[in-house]
């Protein structure tokens, strides 16, 4: 038998599970353990990438039925273009991050044992691969739980800090609320597919061949969207994300933000486009509205952060929003039977999935390198790192430029395509939608512009200027494995940006599978240089020309102006002739975001306090000034506080049952048995 892609993918999962099992054996020799474990995960990830890429380019599906599982309920695996695409996304970033981890995890040596990190890292990857491979509700949920549990243990890895334990707990709660919703959704679908009396409906195949009544399908969709949105961090279900992602080790944060969130996107696409297939337009509208909300609010919250990793986590909320915009538009177009437009919108969505995985992974790896070097996450305590960490700075900059949607990098391509999808909305038959959907384009534009501001802040405050902190640690550049991991991700960002036509041509199998139409004929109609979605007259973009054009002009100008050598003199800072300049006069993260905080302040819960010390001759010349600023999520107060209060109230009520007397407990059991017997006669 010739091994096909799905055998490769299974082999990759098996390799990860074996690695997870074998790793504890090496726990005495941590250095060897790091090299072996992360080397193995890198190899396994490469295997997964090959399997996924192969499937997508072949454009067909393969299945395996495993003989393990519950009696009569075997596990089904399936590798189709959609699964293959997500396998590539997850595999690519896992490959980069695994290489990076070889260097990064060494930072923990001598402080704590990294065995648990390595074990759960392998399980986490295996869980993610299994989620996209699974083809029945049972194994999907098992993999989903493996992924969630493994990531919980990764978040809590540095468990001596109370904030980490709190974050991990919050994460666990939200993940499980979401998982329950997904479980119920699958229950509804399976029940409708085969009747509530039998279990046969649990395979995705059964669901695919069934036709669902609209009421049941809507219930299933809403439950699934709630569950997946909780995992993806869609506002207002995002609160766990900025808590949990920053406290995890940075390589894990990169994976969580870069790819774990994408499994939720995968889930939504799988359920709507593949399992339910026929749906009304307002499902898409729901996804679109939540996408827009997450995009705008996510980036605004990101702008307000001072913690580098928290900023990146909020920016993930924003990008998930952008992806959901694409998916939502695709759903609207599909329901109005406009397959070509739907294919375009879906392509923008999944292209952004790939792009976001690359640049967010890169940024978290960069943040990890900074954390590794300075032991600091607070940007107010950083600055000027570009001089000590030139590699990290340059690579982080590539990430920043990509995420801010600047040509010629990849973030721009997906944003540009999303705009094109928005601009096609006048083809919709409903007049109100025609009017409302282009408004979404304005919000997307606002998001893009704010993201640029946000990443000017992130890069500028962290790497530029002078050191802002109190005591200055000795900073060393990241070591080679870390650099290589980041370089690979940065290269991917650039390549996906200047060669989008090839990438989109390759991933065309996904819309082909789900919608039945692909962009292939139109998007690459003018060769690999020109990206022309829909039609040449409509819009076109050429990544290579933009990139090489700018490069050529820059080089030409540089060479022309350097005919006179040695004309640069290094002098102290001028600053309009001000002499007493010191590093505390620099703009920092808080002051940079101040104008935006004032303009959009009504969206946050801002507590700003200025206190002037008493000992002063005149109010205008205070000796000391204290400034404190707290910016909080409003959602927390509106949505979560009441829920928390209600559950505590409920818990107190239930707590009264606890009497401490054995007879009372026996009575409870007795009454329960009587009641059950009455009802289940």
């Amino acid at each position: 038998m010739n091994p096909g892609p799905i055998e490769f993918a299974s082999l990759s999962v098996i390799a990860l599970l074996v690695a997870a099992l074998l790793t504890p054996l090496f726990s005495r020799r941590q250095r060897l353990l790091i090299a072996c474990c992360f080397g193995l995960t890198a190899a396994a990830s490469l295997l997964a990438v090959v399997a996924g890429a192969w499937t997508v380019s072949r454009g067909n599906a393969e299945k395996i039925v495993m003989l393990i599982g519950l009696p009569d309920l075997p596990f089904h695996l399936r590798l189709d273009p959609l699964a293959g695409f997500f396998l590539v996304v997850i595999g690519l970033l896992s490959l980069f991050v695994s290489v990076y981890s070889i260097g990064y995890v060494k930072g923990f040596l001598g402080k704590r044992s990294v065995t648990s990190l390595a074990v759960f890292y392998c399980l986490f990857l295996a869980g993610m691969y299994m989620v996209v491979l699974s083809d029945d509700a049972l194994i999907f949920l098992i993999s989903w739980e493996v992924m969630a549990a493994a990531s919980y243990f990764l978040v809590i890895f540095e468990d001596e800090r109370i904030e980490n334990r709190r974050a991990a707990f919050l994460y666990m709660v939200v993940a499980h609320v979401g998982a329950i919703a997904i479980l119920l959704s699958f229950g509804v679908l399976a029940g409708l597919a085969s009747g509530f009396g039998s279990f046969d409906g649990y395979t995705f195949d059964a669901m695919r061949s069934a036709s669902f009544p609209i009421g049941g399908a809507t219930a299933a969709f809403l439950l699934a969207f709630f569950g997946f949105a909780a995992k993806a961090g869609v506002i207002p279900l995002h609160v766990w994300l900025p808590e949990a992602h920053p406290v995890a080790p940075s390589n894990v944060s990169a994976l969580m933000s870069g790819v774990m969130l994408k499994t939720a996107i995968y889930g939504v696409i799988r359920i709507t486009f593949d399992l339910i297939r026929v749906f009304p337009w307002w499902w898409g509208a729901i996804v679109l509205v939540f996408g827009l909300l997450s995009a705008v609010m996510g980036v605004l919250y990101a702008l307000m952060q001072n913690d580098l990793k928290r900023l990146l986590a909020y920016s993930s909320v924003e990008n998930i929003g952008i992806i959901f915009i694409g998916v939502g538009l695709a759903m609207i177009f599909t329901s109005f039977k406009l397959p070509l437009l739907a294919a375009l919108a879906l392509t923008t969505g999944i292209y952004h999935v790939l792009n976001h995985a690359m640049f967010k992974g890169l940024l978290f790896m960069g943040a990890g390198a900074v954390l590794h070097a300075t032991h600091e996450r607070n940007m107010e305590e950083m600055g000027g790192l570009i001089h000590q960490m030139p590699w990290t700075a340059a690579l982080f900059l590539i990430g920043c430029v990509s995420i801010s949607a600047m040509p010629p990098f990849n973030g721009f391509v997906s944003e540009w395509l999303t705009f094109q999808a928005f601009l096609l909305s006048p083809s919709l038959p409903s007049p109100l939608l025609k009017l409302l959907i282009p408004m979404g384009a304005a919000l997307l534009a606002l998001t893009g512009a704010l993201a640029a501001a946000c990443f000017v802040k992130a890069f500028g405050v962290t790497f530029l200027g002078h050191w802002r902190g109190h005591h200055r640690p000795k900073v060393q550049e990241a070591d080679w494995p870390m650099r290589v991991g980041m370089i690979m991700a940065a290269t991917a960002c650039l390549l996906l940006g200047i060669l989008p036509t090839l990438a989109i041509g390759w991933m065309d199998a996904v819309p082909q599978q789900l919608i039945g139409t692909s962009l292939g004929t139109s998007a690459g109609a003018f060769g690999w240089m020109w990206l022309t979605p829909v039609a040449y007259e409509r819009a076109s973009y050429s990544g290579p020309i933009v990139f090489f054009g700018i490069l050529a002009i820059v080089i030409a100008a540089y060479l022309l102006l350097h005919v006179r050598p040695g004309t640069i003199r290094r002098v102290p800072i001028w600053d309009c002739g001000f002499e007493k300049i010191d590093r505390r006069m620099q703009y920092n993260a808080t002051s940079f975001a101040m104008p935006i905080r004032r303009i959009f302040g009504f969206l946050f819960n801002v507590k700003e306090r200025v206190r002037i010390s008493r000992r002063t001759a005149h109010r205008a010349f205070p000796a000391r000034l204290y400034y404190s600023l707290h910016v909080r999520d409003r959602v927390w107060g509106w949505l979560y506080k009441p829920v928390i209060r209600a559950s505590f109230w409920g818990a107190r009520k239930v707590g009264r049952l606890q009497q401490g007397r054995i007879q009372a407990y026996l009575i409870y059991s007795f009454v329960t048995i009587i009641v059950l017997l009455v009802f289940l006669r």
Binding site: P431, L432, L435, L436
Partner: protein, 221 residues
Amino acid sequence: MNLAVAAQIISFLAALVLLCAFGMLVQRRMYGLIHLFAWQGLFLSISTAVVGFVAGKHHLYISSLLTLSLKVFLLPYILHVLIQRLKIQKEVETVVNVPMTMLIGIALVIFSYHLTAPVREISTLVTRSVLAIALATVMIGLLMMITRRHAVTQIIGFLAMENGLFFAATSATYGMPLVVELGVALDVLIAAFIFGIFFFHIHTTFDSLDVEQMARLKEGD
């Protein structure tokens, strides 16, 4: 002048009327507000004349002239005098901040578009697409009355609302009967005078035209 060109001109004027309405919504200066109101009246009167020409309804010329004399010259003049007498040229204060007001205004436009969709489908008039704009003008006038604190801006809001109603009547049915229009014009004129007199009284009583002050009239505090 053929029908298509007329329709284009009317749409264009409708857009200008809407622009004036939004201008009034965000304008902070009292005089600017009155000028915008006058401009709105002017566009309205031209548009009425064009509709009259296209539809062949000659009484619309009269209402156009009426609009011109009343809303472009007389009422702005009265308001001008009022402001000078009361010395209230300074900036207008708003209750809700300006960008927020704009967003609400946009939402109102979309809402009126949605609301008038059924009419648009059954109507055959040249002016049917303008109806949404007219309705939006009415709503924005009302919004202006809600968001402004100054009594003079409230009357301008009221008058802008009346403009919208007039515009709606022209665009939906090629105008009301002349008698009704004359009556409405008289009403507006008298209302303006009464408002003027009231302003003097309010001003002498409260020393201000800020309507928030009137909260003091409430019993019990």
